[in-house]
């Protein structure tokens, strides 16, 4: 059994409300009970409440598998990069350091790398991944490309990411504004960029404010 080719995973960080539903749903899975494989990251915690879900992007040339010295990370024919094979993983953390998206995490209590495998037990049987079924704002969307284009007319799915001189093509797509349609997401260039438009700044009380209140 394999994941159907027309079914794709789309991430729309803009829609993420930070409710942790995906994290809870993921940690309920029997294959890794209590250990969520999805990461809910704060983009800039000091200044904003914006969060973004991070699932495995399932690269066409998986760097984690490239650097694995124990031959433990494999990619199935449907393009899903599987979690480390338990008998082979030597817990060296090479993949943890190498992954450009920061997806693999070393579970020291099991001496095993565990990462998102797009719920292979579910998706290969024709079901949706856990996180996509529970996401209330559909920041995590699993379906066909036609479906997502119909539902999100202002967004375009991009599945190429640029890190310096390396361009990575992934199976999972990121939703970007259609207006400024780019061929790829330039991650390294965006790292130094200030957010514009919808930036939320938290009101942090200063000493002067405290004096006024008195």
């Amino acid at each position: 059994m394999a994941v159907p080719a027309q079914m794709e995973f789309f991430i729309d960080p803009d829609r993420c409300i930070g409710c942790q539903s995906c994290v809870q749903a993921c940690s309920e899975c029997d294959t890794h009970k209590g250990h969520p494989m999805i990461h809910l990251e704060y983009v800039d915690r000091a200044h904003s409440v914006q969060t973004t879900p991070v699932v495995c992007m399932h690269c066409d040339q998986p760097t984690c598998a490239e650097v694995c010295p124990a031959d433990a990370i494999k990619r199935t024919a449907d393009g899903v990069v599987q979690s480390a094979r338990k008998p082979r993983c030597i817990a060296c953390s090479n993949c943890v350091l190498a992954c450009p998206f920061g997806v693999p995490k070393m579970k020291t209590e099991f001496n095993l790398m565990m990462k998102c495998d797009m719920c292979y037990d579910r998706t290969s049987a024709g079901k949706k991944p856990m996180c996509a079924t529970v996401c209330p704002s559909q920041a995590l969307f699993y379906g066909t490309r036609e479906e997502v284009e119909r539902l999100r007319p202002r967004s375009a799915a991009v599945n190429q990411f640029r890190f310096g001189r390396q361009v990575i093509t992934t199976k999972v797509s990121m939703m970007t504004p259609r207006a400024g349609r780019a061929e790829y997401v330039d991650v390294t260039a965006a790292m130094g960029e200030r957010a514009i438009g919808r930036e939320i700044t938290l009101n942090i009380l200063t000493d002067e404010g405290e004096e006024e209140a008195r």
């Binding site: 990370i73 024919a77 393009g79």
Partner: protein, 181 residues
């Protein structure tokens, strides 16, 4: 979808598979290739394993032949007959220093001796003359005191018998008798 044995992962340098180093073929990233066992490799494994079994059989035959050629071990003095009271036993080493044997005096003229190694897993058997048996405490196996035949428990082969001879009131061990079944 890609077929089973087709390579789907393109190496980062983008060059074709033929130009890639050999280790890429030995450690493929693709699951179907990783699980693929060539008919040639399987045949090689089967042939070598069969050859190892045949060699092992010949090794056993040669070992048997050497053992038979060696003949009976030399005669060795065990103890004076007067030192062994009736119904008591004695531990002695025969034919080598680490081969412990047990001698039991069953009557005025009755003397039996067997190797002390249980034929199941080589534990030391304990003589129990009042119950007419040798008892192995490891797995509760027991052997007949007179013949060494297995009576109960996991052992299936009898204890090797030590042939004895009494000359001028002295007991001598003269050989080892291994009987099959």
């Amino acid at each position: 979808m890609a077929t089973d044995r087709e390579q789907i992962t393109i190496p980062p340098d983008g060059r074709p598979a033929a130009e890639q180093p050999k280790w890429r073929r030995d450690f493929p990233i693709d699951w179907p290739q990783d699980h693929y066992v060539a008919r040639r490799d399987f045949t090689k494994f089967m042939a070598l394993t069969s050859f190892a079994f045949v060699a092992g059989q010949f090794w056993i035959v040669i070992q048997n032949f050497i053992r038979e050629r060696r003949g009976q071990p030399p005669v060795r003095r065990v103890a004076a007959l007067s030192d062994i009271p009736v119904g008591r036993s004695l531990i002695f080493a025969y034919p080598e220093a680490h081969d412990t044997c047990v001698l039991v005096r069953t009557g005025e003229s009755g003397l039996v001796a067997f190797s002390q190694k249980c034929t199941h897993l080589s534990c030391a058997v304990v003589p129990e003359p009042e119950k007419k048996r040798f008892f192995c405490p490891c797995h509760e196996g027991s052997f007949d005191l007179a013949t060494g035949r297995p009576l109960a428990g996991p052992p299936r082969r009898p204890l090797p018998r030590i042939t004895l001879e009494v000359r001028d009131g002295v007991v001598y061990a003269t050989g080892v008798e291994v009987s099959e079944v």
